[in-house]
């Protein structure tokens, strides 16, 4: 009980510590008010949508129950490819992102070119739309015909996502590294630890703990961006839904795919919330 009370916002805590979702006030009364207001709000919304002139047509072509069932059956296996793409990409992004962040926080004027390179990299890949990166690498590099360079669209799709997201994630890491007070590094150095060992044992572990929530937030973005890889060939969930839509003249498969992506990201989103809440508790 005591544990749950301390759970913080976002978690329905019983008793007088009401959650952020339900708002403040006394527990019983505020729950009732919240329920009534929710019913009224969504009731009005449903009425507005279903009473619109185009609704019968939209319902037929977007929310066809039979097509929905079929679409789920056909598309769900394809979602495995999306999962495979982001699981592979995440591993590389975590490593590259940290590498770039560390390059950028190197001291000394001799290492300036490396810092410059890291800055140019993050500026470029955060600036270029992901879809363009996927086109450029997915069609451009295989077209060069270099021997030993993979030409599979899957490879270049994953590589593009790694390139783009490593730029974002390196900035997250860098913010974490800079948030560790310089006195921590001074303490480590004063014990005789080298700069590299100070980073490895003292600065980076603290930085990573602090940035886990924003890091996971980026990964939620990555999960849905896996759909962009479809544009250079691989048949993942989104591409499969396009095929279904084209063959059935019905948009329901899009709706089904959207729901599947949401279902995929919700566990990660709740996990992120939970981690963030736990961190707030620990910081007190």
């Amino acid at each position: 009980m005591a544990r749950r009370r301390r759970a913080g916002p976002g978690v329905r805590a019983p008793g007088n510590r009401s959650s952020r979702i339900l708002g403040g006030g006394g527990a019983g009364r505020s729950t009732l008010i919240a329920a009534v207001s929710t019913l009224v709000f969504f009731g009005i919304l449903a009425y507005l949508v279903t009473s619109s002139p185009g609704w019968p047509e939209v319902r037929r072509s977007f929310f066809d129950g039979e097509v929905f069932g079929e679409a789920l059956r056909d598309i769900a296996p394809r979602l495995l490819l999306n999962i495979k793409i982001f699981l592979i990409a995440e591993v590389f992004i975590l490593v590259f992102g940290l590498g770039i962040a560390l390059l950028r926080s190197l001291p000394g004027s001799v290492l300036f070119p490396f810092r410059l390179l890291a800055i140019a990299y993050t500026d470029f890949f955060r600036g270029v739309p992901t879809i363009l990166v996927i086109y450029l690498f997915g069609f451009g590099v295989p077209a060069l015909g270099l021997s030993g360079v993979p030409s599979s669209p899957f490879f270049w799709g994953v590589a593009s996502l790694v390139l783009v997201y490593s730029a974002y994630v390196s900035e997250v890491y860098r913010a974490g590294i800079e948030s560790v007070h310089p006195s921590q590094e001074a303490a480590a150095r004063s014990l005789g630890l080298s700069r590299v060992k100070s980073l490895r044992f003292v600065v980076v572990p603290q930085a990573v703990r602090r940035v886990i929530p924003p890091l996971l937030n980026d990964f939620i973005g990555l999960q849905k961006d896996t759909a962009l890889v479809a544009l250079i060939g691989p048949v993942e969930a989104f591409r499969q839904s396009q095929i279904e839509v084209a063959s059935k003249f019905d948009y329901t498969p899009y709706f089904a795919t959207a729901l599947m992506f949401v279902a995929l990201t919700i566990p990660m989103a709740r996990f992120t919330d939970w981690l963030a809440a736990r961190q707030r508790r620990r910081m007190r």
């Binding site: 303490a187 004063s190 014990l191």
Partner: protein, 247 residues
């Protein structure tokens, strides 16, 4: 041979010169206390000795070696010098035991079992044996500062630098930390101590140095500095301390 020698040390931060030419010698087993107002350069002096701050001019010798010379491996020099900071600076993501064993294991390459048994012995000596598995935020300020001292001692330094180690503590926790320092002094540890605890300086110091505006204005045995200071600035400083009821 002196444990530490400073000759004409100057240090600036930007356009502001904090140390205006410091000459100081600390003999083996000597306990030298640096007193003076905040901003007089006490902390900077200690950080310079530990090479945490590069000096602009002058020379610093530790154990006869000129450590301020170009090309000296600062990591190697720091191994032999323990420093304890005002704000403890324990590593919050590590247990007390890991805080203490990190440097022996990663720098001295001590085997884990050996590093841990040595750490537990040191922790036990200062009444911290039962806190070895705790994280620093579970400890009181006094306990944290004692862990910080143990962490520095685990490297078996020849010299300890203490930078206002009781200034961040609640008054009732000051004593337990000062007891640790007393014990170190009794054991013959060479120490350079920046402090605002005048009573303690008077009791423990073999010599007291009064810093004012980046120079050592006056130094001598504690009885002389506290009872018969020669310089007007020293007299003023001590009078303010007396007026504040701190001496």
């Amino acid at each position: 041979m002196s444990a530490v020698e400073l000759h004409g040390v100057r240090k600036s931060f930007g356009s502001e010169e904090v140390l205006h030419g410091i000459d100081l010698e600390v003999g083996e087993h000597e306990v030298v206390c640096l007193i003076g107002a905040s901003g007089s350069g006490k902390s900077t002096l200690l950080r310079c000795v530990n090479l945490l701050e590069p000096i602009d001019e002058g020379r610093i010798l530790v154990g006869g070696e000129e450590v301020s010379a170009p090309g000296v491996d600062a990591d190697r020099v720091r191994r032999g010098i323990g420093i304890v900071f005002q704000a403890f600076n324990l590593f919050p993501h590590m247990t007390v035991l890991r805080n203490v064993t990190l440097a022996p294991r990663e720098v001295l390459k001590s085997p884990r079992a050996e590093a841990e048994s040595q750490a537990l012995e040191l922790l036990g000596r200062f009444g911290l044996a039962d806190r070895a598995g705790d994280y620093p935020d579970r400890l009181s300020g006094g306990q944290q500062q004692r862990v910080a001292i143990v962490r520095a001692l685990a490297m078996r330094p020849q010299l300890m630098l203490l930078d206002e180690v009781t200034s961040a503590l609640d008054p009732e926790l000051v004593g337990e930390v000062l007891n640790v320092v007393r014990e170190l002094a009794a054991g013959g540890m060479t120490m350079l101590i920046a402090t605002h605890e005048m009573g303690f300086a008077r009791e423990i110091a073999s010599r007291v140095c009064f810093l004012d505006g980046g120079v050592i204005l006056e130094q001598g045995p504690p009885e002389q500095i506290f009872s018969a200071p020669q310089e007007a600035r020293t007299q003023q400083f001590l009078q303010r301390i007396v007026d504040a009821g701190r001496l």
